[in-house]
């Protein structure tokens, strides 16, 4: 049970509250979450057989979509065959995600796929060289999804200490947006976390936190394509 009174704050990415400049040549968007201790459901025998303190694993994935001035994802890449013969779409597209971790421009990439949330701090990072990004990109939308959340009955209402943050080249935190286990996110398996967009010749950051029930970013992507 929580009500959020925070308004969709926009932050001018060039300066912080004290008017200090951020170095935006590189911005890192970090996603972090904690593994939640499963409640001990083993009872007496469970304890006897070492059944307590099971940790529930969540696999959160960070996704970035690059939008043009019409607010659309123009390049959907191509479908490639994996070694085990599966077809994999959106390869080398304007979507940066676990199956296509580096944008063809080389200026935005995902550092790796963390599958459990183990470890403190950022569990997944997307690095963006904002000053190198082609003029045709007007906005970068960041999403986070719970991989197979629907199948595993996992949702944001259960995850602890999930946050997204943006950090400048020198490691100075520009903005941070946190989400703790909150009943309003019950049943929600993905979230549009934040966007970075051009305005009046500068980049701005806006925390959104819009939850969706789907556990895939494809449903959101479908609304943002030309076809």
């Amino acid at each position: 049970m929580a009500i959020n009174l925070v308004k969709g704050q926009t932050i001018d990415l060039r300066k912080n509250d004290k008017g200090e400049e951020f170095d935006l040549s590189t911005v890192t968007v970090g996603l972090g979450w904690d593994v939640r201790q499963k409640k001990n459901e083993g009872g007496f025998f469970g304890k006897l057989f070492g059944g307590d303190k099971k940790e529930e694993e969540y696999d959160l994935d960070a996704v970035a979509m690059l939008l043009d001035s019409n607010g659309k994802v123009a390049n959907l890449g191509r479908t490639v065959q994996t070694r085990d013969g599966r077809a994999m779409g959106l390869y080398e597209s304007d979507v940066v995600f676990f199956n296509s971790m580096k944008h063809p421009s080389g200026h935005i990439w995902l550092t790796g796929d963390n599958r459990t949330g183990a470890g403190d701090g950022d569990d997944e990072q997307i690095i963006i060289k904002l000053d190198q990004l082609d003029q045709r990109y007007d906005k970068i939308l960041f999403m986070v999804t719970i991989y197979q959340g629907r199948t595993n009955n996992q949702h944001f209402g259960m995850i602890e200490n999930a946050f997204i943050r943006a950090v400048d080249r020198n490691g100075k935190e520009i903005a941070r947006f946190s989400l703790s286990g909150d009943s309003t996110y019950n049943g929600m398996c993905s979230m549009t976390f934040a966007e970075i967009y051009r305005k009046d010749g500068a980049w701005k950051f806006r925390a959104l936190g819009n939850p969706h029930q789907s556990d895939s970013f494809i449903d959101e992507l479908k609304k943002l394509t030309y076809s």
Partner: protein, 191 residues
């Protein structure tokens, strides 16, 4: 013609469609914008909102019973020149039976960090209008009546013997929206 209410004055409302309008003029100075917010609490017999959705504000524009609709946040007062900048439309025929009272408040967003109060805001008012006749039932001039405050409890609609009545309260506070919310909601408030 408007009735300028005395505090505690009650009005019978034999009406179903009304709107609560908040208006102010943008800041023409160089300091921060004035961001006034109209909000409504639909409360039950325990004087609490039955569910989170019964708190209608910039972050939740429709109550679950569809009785209340908030037209959306105006962060500067620039929506209308001289008219309402934020409106909460009320259809009393749709109110959830658990809801016994609807309270309306006005607050200044970030008033503390921006060092603002109603006295600095030009031509700010809150009013309640009968949509059938477009007649103003009650109106407060915020800048005159609450110059040093940052939050106002405007008034409440309540049911008595099956009829909705309006009571103007006009209580000013040096508080923010979270203060009002904490009275009618016992869950976590993220500020």
């Amino acid at each position: 013609m408007a009735i300028n209410l005395q505090k505690g004055q009650r009005i019978d409302i034999g009406l179903s469609n009304i709107s609560v309008g908040l208006g102010w003029e943008p800041n023409d100075g160089t300091s921060a914008a004035f961001d006034l917010d109209a909000s409504a609490f639909m409360i039950d017999d325990n004087r609490l909102i039955p569910e989170e959705g019964f708190f209608v504000f910039y972050g939740n524009q429709d109550s679950p019973d569809t009785a209340l609709h908030h037209t959306g946040d105006d962060p500067t007062g620039g929506n209308s020149d001289g008219g309402d900048d934020e409106t909460i439309m009320v259809d009393l025929t749709k109110v959830d039976p658990r809801v016994k009272e609807i309270l309306f408040v006005v607050t200044i967003h970030d008033a503390i960090s921006r060092r603002q109060n109603f006295g600095q805001v030009r031509d700010s008012y809150i009013r309640i209008v009968d949509n059938a006749t477009s007649q103003e039932i009650a109106k407060y001039e915020l800048g005159e009546d609450f110059s040093i405050e940052t939050g106002v409890e405007f008034g409440r609609l309540y049911v008595k013997e099956g009829k909705w009545k309006f009571e103007a309260s006009g209580k000013g506070y040096k508080e923010d929206l979270a203060f009002f919310l904490s009275k009618y909601f016992k869950g976590q408030i993220i500020k």
